[in-house]
Chain length 270, copies 2
DNA sequence: CGTAGTGTTGAATTGAATCAAGTGTCGTGG
DNA sequence: CCACGACACTTGATTCAATTCAACACTACG
């Protein structure tokens, strides 16, 4: 909290450069800036290749996947990957940055249905109806790998382990969504918030970022829409968790001070 | 509501026999009872084959699917298909009856995560972690087709259209779960209930049952757990919708009297 | 430097939960 | 076939968590 604000990419770059968990107090100093949006990287050299689609493929197979992946220009904050009811064409793997998906109902109000971090797959909701069910936009400067779905299907036909892995990715999405169902149907505002923070924490850990200290790329409003709460409630819960000493919040920068106690909020249930 | 209670299977059998929408006033009369739990039927002769996994397969391919499907003994009300953290082995297609999936949290309280009607697929939440994330039990006397997943994968490798269809089924589940997310995070009790009833209606229509009159195989408590409401609230909303003339409820038997107005509850939003 | 967007905090309100007390229904065993 | 007990459902009164309404502070950006 003594820190000036830094973007996730900067934090990420720093971490890669320094292999340390502690965020330097004067980050703007002389950190060598690695650009994580570099679009010329191949799947085999991508540092996410052990988390992303290539996870199940051997060296030679990866090149086949590589050949169908399109590495698009970087996305600016607010840019849309696709919009609700656009024709479904591709799924996307987040390379850097973050995205949110949201659903606009007939009555015009939107709700956030998901946040996506590096190594995660976006767009699977469009597979069955051939139209995307959500809109998805970048929360910060971000980059993406586009994987045309028809080609992914074709390649899955040739590479059993790719098929297996993609089934697993989709199954994981289903299991995750059902957990969220439980969360929304029975947890209190504090429990939802704690669960959200712990979820982000482990997802950051997965991409080798600090699990206890990170930047929220989404607004309080986004979080509220995702958790089924209002902005005000999210803000109040953050404040109250801070007063209890479980977290430390400073604007978008957040630190989980007592992960164990945060977990207990979820398990001490009714 | 002047009707004595009848099970869904009976309603189904009657409909098949009579091709009519109106439930006879004296059902116990002389309806020729077709047993929908007959386990000797093959995929190609199953009357659900245009809704279920075979949908995308031609005659000759169906026999290959047929060969890996295991048609289990019927399930009695309350019998479990599998339990949370059992080893994942198969996905299941509902042949007749209905099932509920529910998740037990550490604190012991369970929440219903889904209901499954004939032609729908159960168990995909276990694919990625190799353990089922839910327990699933029969809500009434029901029958099931078990599809060992490893064999389904193998066969998907040979039959591109099966792979395609299974991707679509999973994508559909994801899209559906995200709609539920929106429902739970922003709808009122009345909106959730209306949406639930309309959802059941169209799913019954899909299996050629009356979309406006059906039996609820789940308790008010199950509905409440699914929608994130209490039993009392569900009961009150049913009563209030009945007073408004939109539905008619008599115990587990329900009739949607004004589907258009029910839809309007959802769209008139904020 | 000003302004729009984002976040915080307080007070009042409310929708649904909880608590409580029933009635209705079904399956079982006598 | 009926009586019993367990479970399912309904309805009312009260409480409470989260929303709503309102005012203000902070930040970021042109």
């Amino acid at each position: 909290m003594a820190n000036p604000v830094a973007t996730n990419e900067e934090l990420e770059a720093r971490r890669l450069a320094a292999q340390e968990d502690i965020i330097p107090t004067r980050p703007s100093a002389t950190v060598h800036k690695i650009c994580p949006h570099n679009s010329s990287v191949s799947c085999s050299s991508c540092r996410l290749n052990e988390l992303c689609l290539p996870i199940a493929l051997n060296k030679s197979d990866i090149h086949q996947l590589d050949a169908i992946v399109e590495r698009n220009r970087p996305f600016k904050k607010g840019d849309h990957l696709y919009r609700q009811s656009d024709e479904f064409k591709s799924v996307y793997a987040v390379r850097s940055g973050s995205f949110k998906s949201y659903f606009l109902s007939d009555s015009g109000q939107g709700r956030v249905t998901g946040f996506y971090l590096p190594g995660e797959i976006i767009g699977m909701d469009g597979i069955s109806s051939k139209k995307y069910a959500n809109s998805t936009s970048a929360l910060e400067h971000s980059s993406i790998c586009e994987i045309p779905f028809s080609q992914l299907e074709k390649l899955s036909q040739e590479l059993p382990s790719l098929q297996h892995h993609f089934f697993a990715i989709m199954g994981n999405e289903i299991a995750k969504d059902q957990q969220v169902h439980t969360l929304l149907s029975s947890y209190t505002a504090e429990e939802r918030t704690a669960s959200f923070l712990l979820g982000l924490s482990s997802r950051y850990a997965r991409v080798s970022l600090s699990p206890s200290r990170f930047l929220l790329s989404m607004t309080r409003g986004d979080i509220g829409e995702y958790l089924g709460l209002t902005v005000e409630t999210v803000s109040r819960i953050f404040t109250s968790l801070q007063k209890k000493g479980l977290i430390s919040v400073n604007n978008r920068e957040i630190e989980l001070l007592d992960i164990e106690s945060l977990r207990q909020i979820l398990t001490k249930g009714t």
